[in-house]
Symmetry: C2
């Protein structure tokens, strides 16, 4: 049997691979939007397939480790956190695919530009995904907390996109279909940010052994 | 120490309580929509608070049981499934609150009626939530699979609501703000259905020990 610590590393690497793929999927979907081109999007489905495969691998791997090694305390918290992060990363992959589909739907419609720059919003979200996993690798509490803070900013941006585009549609200044698509893209980015926040919360729980969910805003 | 099997029961009961609260939260939000009244919605936030509290309890409970009893095979699969269902149920509670907020926003706007009856759509979703947990209690594979099938139906309904309302907005037959709100409500119902599907998949995994995610549509 391979050493437990080597297996923990392998598991963490799988999670990091998922995170990298999620980041790429978001980035390429939004690049398709910025460049009004379907070219960056062509790889999304292959990326999602790999994420889904890793999802199943990570679950099996973590469960087998729990059963075989019967870990306690920090190691057990790491393994159960892995199970949760895994679900979150898989959902982020789905959401990136949703974004890609909306971008494709947008390509045939008139250009609509909300005041909030959606590629800028995406940069923040991509950075949240990256930092939540950096926080995991480095067991860095401050970095995990920075993800929670960024989530509020993304919520505000989503609300601004919505208000702005709604007004444009109501005043007949924007194509309704294109506005809907953009609102959904902002909405899906915000959901990805929520999942990155879940990951950061799992990291905090893993480090501290205290559950901070439903409290961090209080 | 209490018997392991009594603790398993207690944990399952907490999950069932969460499921019941989620169902009520969806039902009351949509009743607010159907009756165009904020009265049914007034309890939603208290319900969500209780769901959030159970979320934390279930996580702590399941982790402690894994650490103390070091279960294997079916019991371990039950406990890890619990951790996942717990996350899904907590998200469903959030989504029900999102729906309630949209209903409140709708109350001040002109009435818009899509062809798909949203309260009917909600009934299907509520039934999915209920059946996913019945499948858990009864370890009933067929019932879990029926949830996966219903998910496709809900997806179709969501798409129909979207197409219908989009056309009405584009033809100037519906208030854009009200149409947006209804599309988001349908969208959130569909997301709740996705989470119920996750629960059903976890039940199948728990029963069979085989991961059927990303395969059931193939």
């Amino acid at each position: 049997m391979r050493p437990f610590v080597a297996e923990l590393d392998e598991l963490q690497n799988k999670i990091l691979e998922m995170g990298g793929l999620v980041e790429t999927a978001i980035h390429e979907s939004i690049r398709g939007l910025a460049e009004r081109s379907d070219a960056p999007i062509s790889n999304i489905w292959r990326i999602e397939e790999r994420i889904n495969q890793l999802d199943i691998e990570v679950d099996g791997f973590a469960l087998r480790m729990i059963a075989l090694h019967q870990p306690v305390a920090k190691d057990l918290r790491f393994l159960t956190a892995t199970l949760k992060m895994n679900s979150d990363l898989e959902r982020m992959g789905d959401l990136a695919v949703n974004i890609a589909q909306r971008v494709l739907s947008l390509l045939g419609k008139p250009v609509v530009k909300p005041v909030v720059d959606i590629p800028e919003m995406s940069k923040i979200v991509e950075s949240m995904v990256r930092r939540s996993l950096d926080a995991l690798v480095q067991r860095d509490e401050a970095m995990a907390r920075s993800v929670l803070l960024a989530d509020d900013e993304v919520d505000d941006m989503k609300r601004a996109v919505y208000q702005d585009l709604m007004t444009m549609v109501e005043q007949g200044q924007a194509n309704a279909g294109a506005a809907f698509d953009l609102i959904f893209i902002a909405h899906n980015l915000e959901r990805i940010a929520d999942h990155a926040t879940n990951v950061a919360e799992d990291v905090l729980f893993m480090i501290k052994g205290v559950d901070i969910r439903h409290h961090h805003m209080a």
